[in-house]
Each structure stands twice: as C-alpha cells, then as structure tokens.
C-alpha cells in the first residue's frame, strides 16, 4: 500500500493520523460548575447562565465534554473562567480518542469533590483546560502559509525566528546541557529511555515573525525548508512557550513520543 504522506497531520496526544477537521479549541479554565449541587437547575444557553432554587445565578463558559466511562460519576459539568472577556485559548489537533483521554484524565481528579462543591475552583498554579469543538467559538478560516490549505483558527498561534547558526553536541541523561554563550535556545532528546542523546543549540535573530500554519507538521516542514525555529504557547503542555525545529521529528522518535511533532521544552 502506498501512503501519500504529504500534508498528513496527527493527533497531538496519540500521534495517530488525524485531519485538520479535528482542530479543537483548548481553553484554560479556572473551575468547574457541578450541576448536581443545584436544585432544579435551568441552563440559559443564550446568556450562559445557570439558575436554580438554591444558588445565585452563575455564568458558565461551556458545557463540558464528559467521556462515557465517567458519565455516571460526573453528571453535567460546565467549565468556568474567571475572566470571560479575556480568555486564554488556542487550538490543537486531537482525535476523538485523544479528547476522551485528555478530558477524562483531568475530570477523574475532581470526582472526590463532586458531592461537596457546586463550583470547584482551581488554584492559580494548577493548569486545567477544556477541549471544545472550534465551531462553538468565533473563528476564522485561514490559509496555511506553508501547505496552502485552509484551516480553522482562533488567532495568531505560531511565531517564527530565523536561525543564525546552530550546533549539536552529545547529551547524557542526568547531566543538564549547557546553553553556551552565543546561543539562545537549547533543546534535546535525552531521557531515561534515551540516555545518550543529542543537544541542539541555536543562535537566533531577535525578531519574531508571525506565520499561519495549519498544524505542527506544517510548521516543522517550514522549519526544515527555511532554517527557522517556530515558537508557540502549547496549551497541551501547561501553556508553556515551546519550540518546533528542523529536528523535531527525530527528537520525538528518540524520545519515543507517540506524537512525532510534539514541541520541545526550552
């Protein structure tokens, strides 16, 4: 069988082949509203308010997706953000299975609180996110600067930086690599499973250039063709600034990550 590998995208959790249509909205949330604790609740979907006989009306963000195996435990849950006018949101390509796993692994931590609290508020230093269909939000259809295909976007995500020069060196697990003078980015593929790896050092230009990419796969392809690094805030990795490089695929293969286009920590 011949597989056309051009323009193939993958689930950002499982690494399985997926599609641009599986681009989801990822939103940092500050809490979960637990409908079980509301007496005779009425959900006003136009105003996004929950009314009830025993609680003050409360504004919700979205009804949360609950995987089937948690439905008995969770009933109806609604995500809550403390600043609905200024949300932290991005996109990721996730298969249905990926959504089920990522939502389930977060919701399972809340089960112990569901018989006690109507609003489970997360501490500031915790990072929880909701995964929603992008169609629920005002979004644009953009054209990918590299592959030329259309994709749904919630705004500027990727920024590109030109590589001035680079070098690689051996890296040993347990010994932190050094960011040598003259370089401003270091990434690597060392882990317990890959104890003898490679560290990649880059000196980059100061300026960022915004670019539109449909996916990490397209961004990595652009890195290879143009000798650049691509930066973005990765909401699947605690909303940290992370980087894609010409070496992303080999780094993830060596790290044995299921998703070969996962961003690297900097």
């Amino acid at each position: 069988m011949v597989v056309d590998v051009k323009n193939v995208v993958h689930c950002e959790y499982y690494g399985s082949v997926s599609s641009i249509e599986k681009t989801r909205a990822i939103t940092k949330i500050n809490g979960v509203i637990n409908l079980r604790m509301f007496r005779n609740p009425i959900v006003d979907t136009s105003k996004k308010l929950i009314f009830s006989e025993n609680k003050e009306p409360i504004k919700y963000f979205q009804k949360m997706f609950i995987p089937d195996d948690l439905k008995a435990e969770c009933d109806d849950l609604y995500s809550w953000v403390d600043d609905p006018d200024d949300i932290e949101q991005s996109t990721a390509i996730l298969s249905d299975k990926g959504v089920r796993y990522l939502m389930g692994s977060q919701l399972v931590k809340l089960i112990g609180y569901l018989n006690e609290y109507d609003l489970i508020q997360f501490p500031d230093d915790a990072f929880f996110f909701a995964i929603d269909e992008i169609s629920k939000f005002k979004h644009q259809i953009k054209k990918c600067d590299n592959w030329g295909i259309e994709y749904p976007s919630l705004g500027r995500k990727y920024q590109v930086k030109e590589i001035i020069h680079q070098k690689s060196e051996k890296e040993i697990w347990g010994r932190p690599g050094i960011l040598w003078p003259g370089f401003d980015v270091r990434i690597g593929d060392c882990s317990a499973d890959n104890p003898n790896g490679t560290g990649y050092l880059f000196a980059t230009k100061r300026e960022f250039m915004p670019r539109s990419f449909c996916s990490n796969e397209s961004a990595v392809d652009y890195c290879i063709k143009n000798n650049v690094l691509v930066f973005y805030i990765d909401y699947l990795n605690k909303a940290k600034m992370r980087v894609l490089s010409p070496f992303t695929e080999s780094i993830n293969i060596n790290l044995q990550n299921p998703h070969k286009f996962r961003s690297s920590n900097i």
């Binding site: 006018d85 200024d86 932290e88 230093d125 980015v185 100061r206 909303a239 600034m241």
Partner: protein, 206 residues
C-alpha cells in the same frame, strides 16, 4: 492575589501566558531596555516557566505582575511590577552595592521590611498618551489601601523626563541619586551632573 483594575481605556490584570510574545517584544527592544534598565533579551527570556514563576512569587507575596491591556482590543501593551524588598528582589536591585547594601546607612534609605519597588514599561507606540499614568494611579491606590509602602522607583537617567513627570504627578519624591560607581571620582562628578548623566531613586508613600 493580583487584583484586576479597569480604567477608561485600560484593563490592568494579572499576567497571562498568552502575553508572552508581546512581553518579549518589550524585553528585546533596545530602546525600551535603555529606559527600563538591563540588557535586551533574546529567546532566553522564555527559559523556565515565566508565567509559573510569577504565580509562585505572587503566592509568596513578594511580587505583583500586572499586564496592561487596551480595554477595547484586549491587547497587551505593557506591564507594571511591584517587587518586595523583603525578598531577593532587594539583593537584585542593589547588587551593584555589594555588601554595602546591608549597611546601616543603606538600610536607613531603604525600608527592607515594608518597601516595594515599582517598575513598568509600555510598547513604544503606546507611549506619551497618558496610558501608564492611568495604570500607575490604580496600582498606587491599591498600594495605599493594602498598606504596601513605601514604594521606590528607579529612574536610570534623569533625562527620562516622561517617567519623572509621571512619578512627580503622583507625589513621588527624589530620594537618592544613582551614579555609575565605576565613574565615581571627584574629577568626574562635575561632568556627570552637568551632563545629567545619572539616575534617581524616587520614593512614595501616601
């Protein structure tokens, strides 16, 4: 907790990771850093988890970090920081003094127990529009209400008239000149003062 403020044109709120790129623009801009003090940053600015470290220090009550955003467009245009002198920020701020920063004389000038240092920066095209004055006014009111004072503000060059005008508007007082210690000899003093080649630490309390 870092409280949120709203003015006619601005929302001044806690820093969010989505502000990272715009914040980098400030720290990598040589003109801005010349006024702000410190070297321009490249990608090393992102090393570690900038947002998480702000949250940790806020929780430890040694830092408040506000993003200044345009109300209508939700765009990050600058930041304001308050850093407690009852923390390592005092050492960072006065590291150039060496051990002298712990001397009785220094501690007479700076209240290490209660003092806070304020600093701020705006993106170049948002300057000279009175925006920072709006934002700083809210922060000082918060400081007065929560008894976070005295507040110190370092101005790296007294040629930075815009910042000095802002500070004087809020009744900051000139507290102590800052002179490059490598040039601190009597022959140079006249020249330094004639050419206004020095900075000033201002102090505020309600």
């Amino acid at each position: 907790m870092t409280p949120r403020f709203s003015t006619d044109r601005l929302v001044v709120r806690e820093f969010k990771n989505k502000d990272l790129f715009e914040c980098y623009e400030l720290f990598s801009n040589s003109e801005t850093m010349n006024l702000f003090g410190g070297s321009t940053k490249n990608t090393e600015f992102f090393h570690g988890d900038f947002g998480a470290s702000i949250q940790e220090e806020t929780k430890a009550e040694i830092l408040h970090f506000w993003s200044v955003t345009l109300k209508d467009e939700n765009i990050f245009i600058g930041f304001i920081r308050l850093m407690s002198y009852a923390s390592y920020y005092y050492d960072v701020s006065f590291s150039s003094l060496g051990d002298q920063r712990y001397s009785t004389e220094s501690l007479n000038y700076f209240d290490r127990k209660n003092g806070w240092e304020i600093d701020y920066a705006l993106v170049p095209d948002m300057r000279n529009k009175g925006l920072m004055r709006e934002a700083v006014g809210e922060i000082l009111e918060f400081c007065a209400n929560s008894k976070k004072y005295p507040i110190y503000a370092k101005v790296n060059s007294i040629k930075n008239t815009a910042t000095i005008k802002l500070l004087l508007h809020f009744n900051f007082k000139a507290h102590l000149p800052m002179i490059d210690t490598t040039r601190l000899n009597l022959d140079m003093m006249d020249k330094i003062f004639q050419e206004k080649d020095y900075g000033m630490i201002y102090k505020w309390q309600p």
